[in-house]
Amino acid sequence: MSHAPTSTAVNIQAPPAELEREPLVANQRSLGWVTDRIAGVCEGKAPLWWWCALIPSFLLFLVGVTCVAYLISTGVGVWGLNHPIAWAWDITNFVWWIGIGHAGTLISAILFLLRQKWRTAVNRAAEAMTIFAVMCAGLYPLIHVGRTWLGWWLLPIPNANGIWPQFRSPLEWDVFAVSTYFTVSLLFWYMGLVPDLAVMRDRAKTWTRKFLYGVFALGWNFSNRHWSNYEKAYLLLAGLSTPLVLSVHSIVSFDFAVSQLPGWHTTIFPPYFVAGAVFSGFGMVLTLLVPLRTICKLEDIITVRHVDLMCKVTLTTGTIVGYAYGMEFFIAYYGGNPYELEAFKYRATGTYWWAYWAMISCNVIFPQLFWFKWFRTNMFAVFVLSIIVNIGMWFERFVIIATTLAREFMPSNWGYFIPTWVDIWTYLGTMGMFMTLFLLFMRYLPMIAICEVKGVTPQADPHHPLGGAKPGGHH
């Protein structure tokens, strides 16, 4: 109510020629412009496109809720899983969703530690994506256990049976890895949001908005004594999230690698899973942000250079994944284990050949187009390729899980998996849940870190002429 911007400047002057370098915020936008533009996305009336996206997403989510209710009330038999394929779409979707989350943490933590300042334009949305993806992921093991209401037996809580979880099992490690991952991602995201919530509070025009943003801003007043502790805590959370994100998908891969099955029992799994996770996550970040930067008119903040850089990360991790596919085959041949070799021959040429080659073309072949600058800077091409990456990584999880279980050691243990309508609609339902949460997020919370973006502009640097530094002076 008290907000009265004293500066209405939209642009600042261009930097001196000798200091010219590609800026992170394009078109010399002023600090006030950055604030207005980002905060403006969650102010005023909701645009029509937002409703057009939210309503179908929410309906899809409701279909998912119905499917889950049907599953819980009837039993896991409503899914197409069987003996021997007792893990099917549910665990495929679990691994796929949790992998998607990894790009958010890579951007927010690892790129922060590496001082990659371009991350500030995309980290908030990527972290939100992480949280929502982990929520979708966490649902699957919980409903897959069958008696969902006994899911709490996974936690070390004293119960009437007098027994405890078995901590030698990678599945139990997974419980700790995934729940820690969710909690720490949420803490990191929320801490990053606090100063921006204070921005929203100070701009709020209605009492309700002022109160709600105010409560969650915790009374932040932009004091430098606070910033000092805040920056240290941010650095620590980045330092803690880095080993965390690497461990989470390693532990997810242990679910497979610690077992004795051919095709699963390999040491390459942890790095291969982590690279694939980052790959799929960047695919999802691009799928979300490439349209949003245009719709929300944020092209000066999420610039073409940002998209270009994210495409390069996608290309790198996609190539690592391709290397892992090749190495798996080589070791299957070189390791001299006939079961292992048969498992891989079956993957590429057996009944699931179509899934295997869909995976290879989507993950290894198509991302190679990102070697060409035209593909990295053409937004339509980036969007299409990012969708292909998402599809390819889903097939990777499916190929690993289904083909291995479909051919165990003895022919009596062979089978084939066909999804039922409940499988399909539950999966689509989690997509509806993800999109609903993401749309609510981008409408009610600043989807770009306002304070961080302001901090990487030249006029924020006290040693830069645009930051007020005097030529030849101390500052």
Partner: protein, 179 residues
Amino acid sequence: MGDAVKHYGLLAEFDTPADTMRAAERVRDAGYTRWDVYTPFPIHGMDDAMGLKNSKVGWFSFLGGVTGYTTGMLLIWWTNAMDYGIPVGGKPMFSPMGAFPPSYELTILFGAFGALGGMLFLNRLPRWHHPLLKHRRFANVAHDKFYVCVECDDPKFSPQETRALLESAGSRHIEMVED
């Protein structure tokens, strides 16, 4: 200070980070202790300009991490080896290797709570009210302005001298803020 209303401090507005930093150095060198700088984003080098020491948040995080790792190891040893032993293939009842992954995760979990909790504790947050947040012009700190505020409680505070100092530091807008 006014007779009727109690005052919180003298608030000076600046336009650029460099001006703010120069002003902070002047206030620091003048020997003030109860004062602060308010900026829309953290400014690199401002801690030195204010004479602040390295933040202590690290200790909270470290303590959290140690607690987490110990909790994990003790929990797994107690539940799987002592309270309800699960013998598997003649292997030892407790092995630090198998107990490592969950303990590692708990180290990170408690360390992260330590970092966030430590930050909030050291900053005395959450705080529902602050005199500056009532001030009309101060809302621009969320937009594009920079502020230095010297509190009236500072032992060296004097309405005239402090104002003169902030003026000489280049502020073109100085106001007394009510408590």
